[in-house]
Structures are given as structure tokens and as C-alpha cells.
Symmetry: D2
Subunit: 235 residues, 4 copies
């Protein structure tokens, strides 16, 4: 069972990063192997909308040759994908939006091979912001990924819409852990395993005992390594 | 396997009715028993928002005593629910919205019993309109039902956003049939059966050969029986 | 200048009520006369979608005879309407949705008289909830009312998406006051007055000095008068 | 009166281009000077979200140095901005989203100078697609631009959600013309002029007589000049 995280924030230590790490760690706990990609580290050009010209012109491989190939290969192998994005103006970040637009070549294989390459994969969502708009952003991601053929398991979302520290926000932490859990439970269900319940509030205790310290340390390390281009503007 | 249709239109022969019938017939084809409820025939009062007062005040049975009991009982028994609504101003009809708000007593059982009564049930969506807004309406329904604990199987939506006859709209017909198919495939998957693919474009041929005539006749009968209060206003 | 508030919550002392009172008091400060209607006190039946049958069948007066006549008369006279709703599942309450659907008879006068009866009126929005979804709800209200012909002045929204007391939430209070201010500024602009700026953060000081005590007292009074049907369920 | 069009499609002869040209020509008819920018011709990098680090770090000039400067300068001078985008997965294109995210430096001047640089400017929207999602995309654009301080005049949107030729779609053509008209009427209103009505269905006749032939020719010329990278993929 492979779970892929796509991270759409320039801040690889911020709220969406924290949420994604929580989800991936929970996914591992339930038996998945995980990896994640920082989309801001890649050069991913915007979609050219070939499908508007000719329904069959949009297919894998995409005519644009850039770092999106890394995303394509990782998504192709994954059983589940967790989309983690900051909420920029009530929506996913522009970088995440470009990645989604470029995934059309997978979805559009339905017109080439009779089947979307995302058909039956499982989706989870993390959207974090300091203000309103998280649910609006998730609504976009969820309808899109379902329209591309993905399964949305129960409780497949975690979000913030206020300024407080996410790692101290019990609801967010529990929800983010359950995003990782629910996508793995769905993969298991598709493999014939029975699922008793889809949300486990007890995961929070595991976080407090075994995960929190590690995660706080990781975040600090990542933050210390990060370039912070905005510093110049405030000095 | 039980599939329930909730129909939120005053016109029991209109586009959303047609879409729902298509979905239910396909669900039957794949082994489910089905029933549907016309929400406009029921007296369903608006939610009183008790949960805003006290998180534990909202629980089954709802303090409002009205026809919603019929919806509660049907949803409780169902493995999957298909929400079929006209698009009124880019959203579900007010009647459908009231039903959704009242379903909070099921979802909120998570705070009473540790588990939503909708947890692990499967959802499908049909939204029909003469103009834009179908996807906006589906985005509302999908995020809500997922937040209540429901599974959204792949391709779980069918919609129209133009004036043409839905039963002549190949994409809509095929999608609506697949809404019925995908919810049943998901129920089967949860019972251990392997699903090869989640969307079958060939269902359209079945419709043309075996379903269309029956459905056209049914719609005519329903329309001839219907009260049409707007007639008086146009005479 | 007349500003009308439509209040779509069963709790006439809750967050959306507070927001609406703030907006209306600010509207008065800038020269408007105000009134508000508690939609939960009225019997407003759901829209019958006549327009789907015949584009000309939907016109004023609506064929449904109920308390909506009070809303119609008040909206007709108003220069601006402020829609104040709790966020129920990322959307306006079902009661508010029914009112909006029923306003179609005003909008649809464009097909009867060549002009929507809402054309050029000004709209403001207040959406309050304990969780995410406020912006999703506002997006629905804003696109709908603009499509019906209303003007959306700058910063015409105030919202909450967390549990804290709204009257202690500086951003919400300031935004809600500015909803009242911006709709009046727009009415004035339409009458030839020049508007220097559309948002005044200083209104918060006025609130603290002259409004807060009065409003806290009003809310207490309203709450003490209110029936609380949910009490029975928690005792 | 200056009206700026921002065009967010790779196809400078497609549906959103047509809609934008209609709007700009109508704006000129009512007295505005116009210009437009093809966003796909610019190198515009994604937002770095500085504001999440420090509310005062995000201000004009943006720390990212790229072609966005052309958009900043044009928006600064404009009285109204028309956002024209294809609908990519129920949302604006990723390129348009990046531009919007980058406009945060204008909006955030409210925290630097007490006033958004978009405060009181007027917005119009064109969103075109072959399928559902136009209203969902417009809802995003409208809430965002209103939150940045822009005025949304009545009927400020035009859209398609089907495959037919937009220039033969009477509703779309009339709506697109009225987007140009309504933004100019709002600028005029803000300058003290009285507006009698905000939507003029008669503009369609003007289009048929004086605009259509010119526009059809322009589109053909633009299309013949365009690079079509997707061609290689279909040969």
C-alpha cells in the first residue's frame, strides 16, 4: 500500500506541512509505505488546455516536458494521494492548481484507453489557512478528484481556519491523523478487508505519546533549513 | 444491498427525477434493492440548530416531530443514499437543504456514541438545472456528506446545465446510470468483492435497448398525474 | 435610504443576530433607516420551480400565498438587503435558502418587464459558524444575489468560523459594522455622493464606546425571552 | 475611465478570449479606454505566502521580481478589471490563480497604509468551459475580489458550460457585452452619474450589426497566428 503526499506550500514547515506529516505517519501506522513531494521545489508549467482543441490530444505523456514527470510517476504508483495545500484566497495554491490541471492527462485516458489512470485510487485532503475558506478549497479539490475517478473515503479532510498553532489544535491533529488512516482503511477495504469504523478519535493519544515530540523537532529543523525570502522585505 | 433515493424537486417527472430513476434502475441491475422518497411530499421543518447551544443536544431522535422520521428510517436502513436535486440558484433546493440540515442528528451521534450513523454509508449525487451551477451544488452536497462520514465512490455524480432533454443527453444518461452502478460497486467492495473498474460507458447501450422506453412512459404517466399549480398563473 | 436585514437563524440572540445588529446600527450611523425580519418566525414554503416549466410562469405575485409576502414587501422598498445566516453545513440555513429561491419571482421580472426587481439594490452578507464553511456559504449568497441584479459593495461580508464569542472578536465586529457602512456608502454613491474609502477600521472604537454595552444587554434580553426547544432534550 | 482585461487562457482565440473582447468593446462603447494582458505570455511565479510569516511582510513591491510587474502597473491604473479565464476543473486556470495570489500585495496594503490598493475598483468576470463548473469558478473569483476591496456591479458575469460556439450563443454574447457595460456604468455612478438600469438586452443587436463580423475575423487571425503545441501530439 503506497500513500503519496503532494505538498503545495512554499513553507515546508508550515501548517499544511504539519498536517501532511501527521497524515503520512498515521498511514504508516496502518501499514502503508509513504513518500511526499514538495511541489514548490519543482518546475511545473501551467496546463495548455489541449483538450479544448481536441478531446484526444490530451493524453499521457503530456506534451509539456518538465518536472511534472516526477508527480506523474509517483501518482501512477500510488494507491492513495493526499493533497496538502495552504488556503490561498479560499482555494488551493496556484502551484497545487497547476498540478491538478496537469493531472488531466491521467483522467483523460478514459477517452484513449476507456479508463482514467486515477480510477479507483483514494484521495485525502489537507487545507490550512489563517482565515476562512478551507472548506471552499476542499470542495474544489474533492469534486475535482472525484470527477477524475478517485474514491473519497469517509472523513477524508483536515483543515484549519484560524491563527493558532496547528500542533496544539486537537481537532486538526485528530482529523489529519484520520486522513492518513481513512485512506489506508479504504485501500484495505478494496483488498477485501473489513473496516469496522472509519474515524478513530483515539489516534490523538498516540500522537501525544509517540508522535508530537518527533514532529515538533522535525518542523524546527525544516524551518531552520528553509530559505526565507520574505526576511529581506521586513528588515 | 439497499439503495435509497432522496428526491428534492417539486416536479416528480422532471430532470432530477429522470436522473434518479436511471441511477436506481442501474443499482437494481447490479443487485441492489431500491426505494425513493419524494421530499416535497413530506412536511419537513427546518433545523433548529440545537448543536450551537450544546454539542450534546443534537442527537437521534430529533426533537422536531414531523415527516423527517420517514427519511431517518429509510437512511438508517440504507447502504447507499443518492441525493437527487434540481439546481436552484447554484445549490440544492431549500427542501433538500432542510433534509440535510436535519441529518445532523445522525452525524452528531459521533459525540454521543462515538460514531456517526452515516459512517461508511455510500453517497451519490444527481443535480440538474437549465443553467450553470450544477457543480457548485454538487460540491456542497459532496463535502457535506463526506463530513458526515459517507464514502464518495468514483464518478458519483451526474448533472445537467442546459435546456435540452436529459433523456436524449448521452453524457447525462451514462453518468446517471453510473451513479447507481458506482454506489453498488462500492457496497460490494466493502463486502469483499473485487471491483475491476468504476465507470462503465457501455451502460448507455443497456439504457437504449431495455430502459429508455419504460422510462419515457413512466415520466409521461407521472407528469399526467402531477398537479401543476403554475398553470393557473399562465392562463 | 432603507436597509433591510433578513435573519435566517432560529436563535434570535446568536452570532448571526449579533452580526446583523452591528451592521444595522452602523447603517443607521451613516444615515439609513433600518428594519429586520426574523425568517424563522414566518411560514415560508419552498419554491415550486415554476420557471422550469415555463419561463414566464414565474413572476410577482408568487402563486404561493404565505408569509413570504412580508419579505417581498420589505425587499421591494429596501435600497439594500443584508442577508444574515448561520452556516449550516457550509451553506446558508434551509430557511434562508427557501427565501432566496422564492426571490426568483423578483429576479424573473426581467423576462416579464425587462428588468429584475432587484436590479441595482445593494447586498451585504453575514455568515456565522463554529467551524469552517463561512466563505463557502458567502460565495453562494454573493453569486446568487449578483445574478439577481444586486450590487456587491467592497468588503460586503463578515463571518466567523470558530467557537469564540463574536462580540469579543475584533475582526468580526469591525467587519460586521463595515457591512452596514459599505451598503450605505454604496447607496450614497448611487445618489451622487463621493466615497473616499470603503472600509473604516476605526468603527471598532465607536463600537467599544457606544454600542457594545447596549448590544450585550439586547442579546441577553432576547435570549431570556427565547423559547429553547432543545432544553427538553438535554434535561 | 480605464478598463483592464486579464486573460488567463493559453488559447488567445478561444471562448474566454471572445468573451473578453465582447466585454472590452462594450466598455469602449460606453466611454472607457481599454487594454488587455495575456497572462500566458508572461512569466509569473507563484506566491510565496509571506503574509503567513509576518502580516507586514506582504506589501508592494512584491519581493518576487518577474513579469507580474506588468500586471501590477496595469491594475494600479485601472478603474475596473475584467478577469477572463477558461474553466479548468471548476476553477480559474492555474495561471489566473497565481496572478490572483500575487495581487495579495495590493490587498495587504490595508495593513501597511490603511487601505487596499484595490479598494473601490470595479470587477467583472468571464469564465468559459465545455462542461459544468463556470459558476463555481466565478464564485471563487467574486468572493476573492470582493474581499480584496473591489465592487461587484450587477450582472458582472458571463459564462459558458457547453460545447457550442460562444459567438452564436445569444445569452453568452449578451451577458459578456453587459459585463463591459456594467463595469463602466459603475465607474460612472461613482463619478456622480445616474444609472437607470444595469443590464441592457438590446446590446445583442449592436453586436449583430456592428461587432460580430469584426470579431469573427479577429478570432480567425489570432488563431492562424497561434502556436499550437498540441498539434504534434495528434499527428
Amino acid at each position: 500500500m503506497r500513500v503519496l503526499g503532494l505538498h503545495g506550500s512554499p513553507r515546508k514547515y508550515g501548517s499544511s506541512f504539519k498536517g501532511l506529516m501527521l497524515a503520512l505517519k498515521a498511514a504508516e501506522k496502518y501499514g502503508a509505505s509513504t513518500e511526499w513531494i514538495s511541489l514548490y521545489d519543482l518546475d511545473i508549467k501551467p496546463c495548455l488546455g489541449c483538450v479544448s482543441e481536441d478531446i484526444k490530444a490530451c493524453k499521457y505523456p503530456c506534451i509539456i516536458k518538465d518536472d511534472m514527470i516526477k508527480v506523474y510517476e509517483a501518482v501512477r504508483k500510488a494507491d492513495a494521494v493526499i493533497f496538502a495545500t495552504p488556503v490561498y484566497w479560499y482555494s488551493p495554491s496556484g502551484v497545487m492548481k497547476n498540478v491538478i490541471d496537469r493531472l488531466t492527462v491521467f483522467e483523460n485516458m478514459i477517452h484513449i484507453e476507456g479508463r482514467s489512470w486515477l480510477d479507483g485510487k483514494v484521495a485525502g485532503f489537507i487545507a490550512t489557512g489563517n482565515d476562512s475558506g478551507a472548506m471552499f478549497a476542499i470542495a474544489q479539490l474533492m469534486t475535482i478528484m472525484n470527477s477524475m475517478g478517485m474514491i473519497i473515503p469517509p472523513w477524508s479532510m483536515a483543515y484549519t481556519n484560524e491563527m493558532s498553532e496547528p500542533l496544539e489544535n486537537r481537532a486538526f491533529v485528530t482529523d489529519a491523523l484520520n486522513v492518513g488512516r481513512t485512506v489506508v482503511m479504504m485501500i484495505r477495504a478494496l483488498r477485501g478487508e473489513k473496516v469496522d469504523k472509519w474515524y478513530d478519535p483515539e489516534l490523538y493519544n498516540w500522537y501525544e505519546k509517540e508522535l508530537k515530540e518527533w514532529l515538533v523537532t522535525l518542523v524546527k529543523e525544516e524551518e531552520s533549513k528553509a530559505e526565507k525570502p520574505w526576511k529581506s522585505s521586513t528588515s
